[in-house]
Amino acid sequence: MKTPFLTGLVLAALAFQPAARAASLLDGYADAARAADAGFAGFSAGRGRALFAATPGTGKPDTPSCTTCHTADPRAAGRTRAGKAIAPMALSVSPDRYADPAKVEKWFRRNCNSVLGRACTAREKGDFIRFMATQ
């Protein structure tokens, strides 16, 4: 009787770990990506890296790339255009990231519009987080 109760407690504690929350966010993006494209075959850290480093030229002139603010090194601290430090994006260095869906969605909305001039797709969002999880 005791063991399932304890297991339940441990599982509940795990569910509140940032990394576990990042994983459940990814599950949501995977569902959305599959709904948009039946051929969706999972997220790719490589595509995420390409999105992060790209200079698409379709966004606002002051923000040509994600790396404008986050720097080219995901493990390094970034800087806003107003000079404020941004904690690194790599999950290994900033384990609290990608845990709050409303926060993540707010920044994808803003930053994809600033850099790409459009919203990111669910697949792009998942690729980006998958890439940051490998860093």
Binding site: K60, D62, R81, R109, R110, N113
Partner: protein, 156 residues
């Protein structure tokens, strides 16, 4: 003289002798939503630094915020707009310093475009300070005013 009255007079004299000491102080941002959201990209500037109409204009164009999309959901935006306009430079019965030289026809969108800010910085600050990589931007108050977050600019 009554000793208490003497002490008060002495205090007034001291205050009078150092008029600049407590001059550049502003109430810090007291609303946690404003502090968090504005403070995500830059120091949350004190609302007393722009007229209410400037805050309304800024908050109405967050998707084009000085070259960036800084949009918020409507409820958060309205909450912050109310806080900023309630505490703006012209919100009280007596206009704040940042209204100096701002006539009714002007709606400055940058604090650094107000005549008061310009006067306070242009004479004292050498041009090389603005190009110093540790400063990076005129919006980076904290680079030179380490207590600016608390509304204290009395360090120059």
């Amino acid at each position: 003289m009554h000793p208490n009255a003497f002490r008060l007079a002495a205090a007034l004299l001291v205050a009078g002798a150092a008029p600049a000491a407590a001059d550049d102080r502003y109430s810090p941002v007291s609303d946690p939503v404003t502090a968090k959201e504005c403070g995500a990209c830059h120091m949350a500037f004190q609302p007393q630094m722009l007229p209410g109409r400037s805050w309304t204009a800024l908050m109405g164009g967050l998707d084009r915020h000085f070259g960036e999309d800084a949009s918020l959901d409507d409820a958060t935006r309205d909450h912050i707009t109310a806080y900023l306009t309630d505490h703006a430079a012209d919100a009280g019965w007596w206009s704040g310093k940042f209204m100096r030289g701002v006539d009714d026809s002007r709606t400055p969108l940058r604090i650094t475009d107000t005549p008061y800010w310009i006067r306070e910085h242009m004479e004292e600050v050498p041009a090389r300070a603005w190009t110093d990589p540790r400063v990076g931007s005129k919006a980076n108050c904290l680079a030179c005013h380490p207590r600016a977050n608390r509304g204290d600019y009395d360090d120059d």
